[in-house]
Every structure is written in C-alpha cells, then in structure tokens.
Symmetry: C2
Subunit: 299 residues, 2 copies
C-alpha cells in the first residue's frame, strides 16, 4: 500500500454545494465565500456555473462573482459550463477552467439534461473548441459512477467508456462522481482500477457523496488505488437532491481531517475551513454538515 504523498482538493462548495441549497444567497456572500476559501489554501475552487438562472436559480450572478473575487496567485477558479453559450460567458468572465458534465447512466442523462450521453458529449465539442482557443483547460465530470437513482448499478466499463471519450475530447482531468452516495469501498476500487486502465490515473479525481455514510471509506479506497485529486464541499454544502434532508457532498473538513491523519499534504488549513464552514452554515440557516466541525464546536 503506497498512498499519495500529496492530494489536491477541488473545493466545490460555491457551485455544486450552493446550487443544491434551499436558502438564497447574495452575490456578496458568494464572493466572500470564495475569497475565504482562497485564504484557507485551496488551490482549486469551483466558483460558479454559467447556466440559465431559470434552471438553476442559485447560480445566478456567476459573472458578478467572478468579477468580485480576489484572485489569489496559484488558485484556479473554475465554472461549470453546460454548452457553448455558457462557455462563452464563462470565458468572458475570466474563469481559469471550465467544466463539462456527463452521466454514466443513460436514464440519468435523459432525465437530468434531456439528452442521451452521446448527445451530451456532442454538445461539449464546441465548448472544448472555445476553451482551446482561449487557452483555458477543461475538466470533465461523470455522474452516477457507482449507481443511478433510476437504473441502479452502473457497470465500471460504462464509466470507462464515457471517461475515454471525455479524455479524447481533451479534458485535462475527469472527476468520477458517486452522485447518490451509494458506493462502497470495493466497488470504488474496481471502478478506479477499470477507468485507470484507459485514462491516466493522475488525470482522474474522486467525487464522493456521504448520503449513505460511505464517502470517507470510499475516498480512502480511492487513495489506495493511487487517486490523488478529490472534490469536496465546505460544511458538506449541497445535500442530496434524490433524498432531501440526507447528506450530499462529503465535507471538506472531514476529508482534510482524514488526509492530515494519513500524513498527506494538501496545503489547506483545516482550522480555517472549519471557520468558513461555520460562517456559511449560519448564513444559510442550516446545520453544519461536517462531523469534524460539529465535534470541534461541541467539545
């Protein structure tokens, strides 16, 4: 067993987190959230999404967020861009990286973005082209990699097939998401083992949800497979749209605690993240979803 010596965390709270929160939040608070996360030492922050506010009201004002934040040197500020229109707006806002989003489940793709997996990949081609022209890298997400709310189990080969396509299209990194948190460590290892056979291991990331309490066990399993990039969300912002009231994104604080315990460097200050998580949880009027934060504030 050789674990990575360093891990890069992709802080997704301001995007994947906030977009699933019920309480509205102002641009001013979004800017403050991103700025405070920068100060914690995160080197990659997903700061917004250039989608129609009709579909995702929480992501309205992403251009203003990008205009308002204090860009720290060495930090990548990324945004989700579902189509060319979104990509153009994101590039105009000066994003450091754009992200595209595909599913490993055909039914999920149809229900979530109204098109087949193949059609979604076609839709990304002009996004990739626009990003290439602007000299901005692209990150790919694949959802439902360990299970789908409609189809149930998803074959690792199916995930690998989508990952290969995203990689061939030019995605710099591909994040494999357990969108509904149903995975367990053995399945996680098989998944990364299968996908790493066709996409370089150091271009893969793990994105775990804690809906069934398995996120950190799965993350440890992925570390054992040599994966060294993980997505997480401060205070566990986000929740699970398929089980309202249940947990969603794994909390950055809990991931940081695990990695610190394993002696793996992240460059992120856990105490500072706990502070930011407490602030944003209060602002949203929700309980802090991080167990580390809860333990520290109860103690």
């Amino acid at each position: 067993m050789t674990l990575p010596r360093a891990v890069r965390l992709v802080e997704v709270g301001p995007r994947d987190g906030l977009q699933n929160e019920a309480s509205p939040i102002s641009v001013v608070d979004k800017v403050r959230l991103v700025d405070e996360l920068s100060a914690c030492g995160f080197s990659y922050i997903e700061a917004g999404s250039f989608v129609s506010p009709k579909w995702v009201p929480q992501m309205a004002g992403s251009a203003e967020v990008f205009a308002g934040i204090n860009r720290h040197p060495g930090v990548t500020y990324a945004a989700l861009t579902p189509n060319l229109q979104g990509a153009e707006a994101a590039l105009a806002a000066g994003v450091g990286e754009v992200a595209v989003f595909a599913a490993a489940s055909e039914t999920f793709s149809q229900r979530n973005i109204n098109c087949s997996i193949g059609q979604s990949l076609e839709r990304f081609a002009p996004v990739m082209a626009a990003a290439r022209v602007a000299g901005v890298p692209v990150r790919g997400y694949i959802s439902c990699v360990l299970g789908c709310p409609y189809e149930g189990a998803i074959a690792p080969a199916q995930v690998a097939a989508v990952a290969v396509e995203l990689h061939a299209m030019g995605c710099r990194e591909i994040s494999l998401g357990d969108t509904i948190g149903v995975g367990t460590p053995g399945a996680t290892r098989t998944l990364f083992d299968t996908v790493a056979a066709v996409v370089p291991r150091d271009q893969l990331a793990g994105h775990f949800h804690d809906t069934y309490g398995q996120a950190l066990a799965n993350l440890y399993a992925a570390l054992l497979e040599g994966i060294s990039v993980f997505d997480s969300s401060v205070a566990g912002l986000g929740g699970c749209p398929y089980a309202r009231g249940a947990s969603g994104n794994v909390a950055s604080e809990d991931v940081l605690y695990l990695l610190q315990g394993l002696g793996i460097d992240t460059g992120v200050n856990l105490d500072a993240v706990v502070g930011v998580g407490q602030w944003i949880s209060g602002r949203l009027g929700r309980a802090n979803g991080s167990r580390v934060a809860l333990a520290r504030t109860c103690a």
Copy 2:
C-alpha cells in the same frame, strides 16, 4: 488485499448506546429493543450493565431486562461488569458473557474509573475467576486506543501492553475502542498490526466512533488488517460524552451497508435494523444517527 468473508457484529446499542442517551427509557422498552435486535439476526447483543445506578442511571434494571428478554438460540446476551459485585449480579441474571473495561490511557483510567490501569486490571481478577467458575466467557474492552481526551495521542505499544494483560487473564476477545473517534485509517492499521503481533488477530475486535466522521474509513482499514469483529450501535445510539451533540458509536446500519457492499456476510437484515433504529430514535426523541436510515427515510 483479502477481506474477511464474514463479520460478526456486536450490537452495543442497548448498553454503550443507551447509557449515553439523555432521555430515560423504561425496562419494557429496553426489553423490546433487545428482542427486536435479536429478530434482526445479530448473534451478539450487549444488553445491559451491572453497575451502580448512582453512577449510570440509564443502566438501572439490567437484571429485569435479562429476565424479560426472549433469548434466541445462538445469540449471546452480554453485560458490562466493572467489579465482582457486578459480575455476580450479572451471572445470577444469566448473562451469556461478561465484559470488563480498561483504558489505554493512564489519565483516562484515573478520571473515568478512579484508578490506574494496573489497579483496574487487578480488579478484574475476581471477575474473571467468578466467570470461569460459572463457565461464562469474558470480553475485554480497551478505550482510548487511538487517542485520549486528556493525553492526546496514545502509542500502539501501550494498547498492546494492556491487550496482552487482558488476554493473559483469559479474555476471549478484546475490543479496541476509539472512544473519542479521533483515529484515521493509517493509525488504525498500525494499531491492529501492533496488537495482532501479541494477541491473535481473530481475538481482536474494532470499536469505532464517528465523532470526526472517520468510523467507516477506520473500519474498512481494520478489515484490510483481517479484523472480522466490530462493535456498532443501532441508529448510532450513544453520542459522544466528550463532545455533546456530536456523533458517537458508529451506526449498525451504516456498517451493515458497507459490509453488504463488500459482499461480506453478517447474518443481519439491514432493512429490519433500519426499522428498529427508527423506532428507538422516536422513543428517545432524538434524530436517527444512521446516514443509511436517513437516506432511506428521506428518499
């Protein structure tokens, strides 16, 4: 990596769980809890504690609980017995196994049970003798194996030293408890590796708390070390006395979900446990501490 093919779960909800709950609970409900857990398929249930009700009011009436339960064939009903008086009462109540409780931390031992580790072990000698005469096996607990609220880090060798003594005194099995939930997977592996060098691996159990969200990751790490007995608590009953409001015992439901996903047999019906956990949580007026239960009831 070869994981155990089967795991035995020690359900500690009725003892370690309830004794840390704030709401009072009647003997009738305790009996029902134990009976329903028996029906779930658990083969080992810690059903009470023979301690002074002055010290642990929630454990009053353990003799009545043992008199009232329906004993399923093949199920061990155990009780905690801190001293000879408790052991005699437990044996008179017809317990299937008694348990003694030592600490790996000298300061914790002093503060928790008012004596040194050495004195606590001496106190167990007559308990062991009485149990031997009665033909009842003894289980040993060691607390603070991955950290102490007073001393901080605890050396694995210190845990091994206590484990060796309990084993030499005749303990059939020794449960290593991360009492304050501070451990992470690497430390867990080192701990079990160290202790298994001096006590047979198949006589060791893992007892993890989820205070910092690490319980299942640690449990997976222990499985990778070949440990095949784990303590858990239905609905995560118990909480953490060192961080009121934070999580304590890992929820049996979440452990079962992990083990099912790994294809490891337990003989326990997860759906049934979710039902019992919902009932007892309602009875205690507390939120269900199992993420699996929360996901299933929110979905």
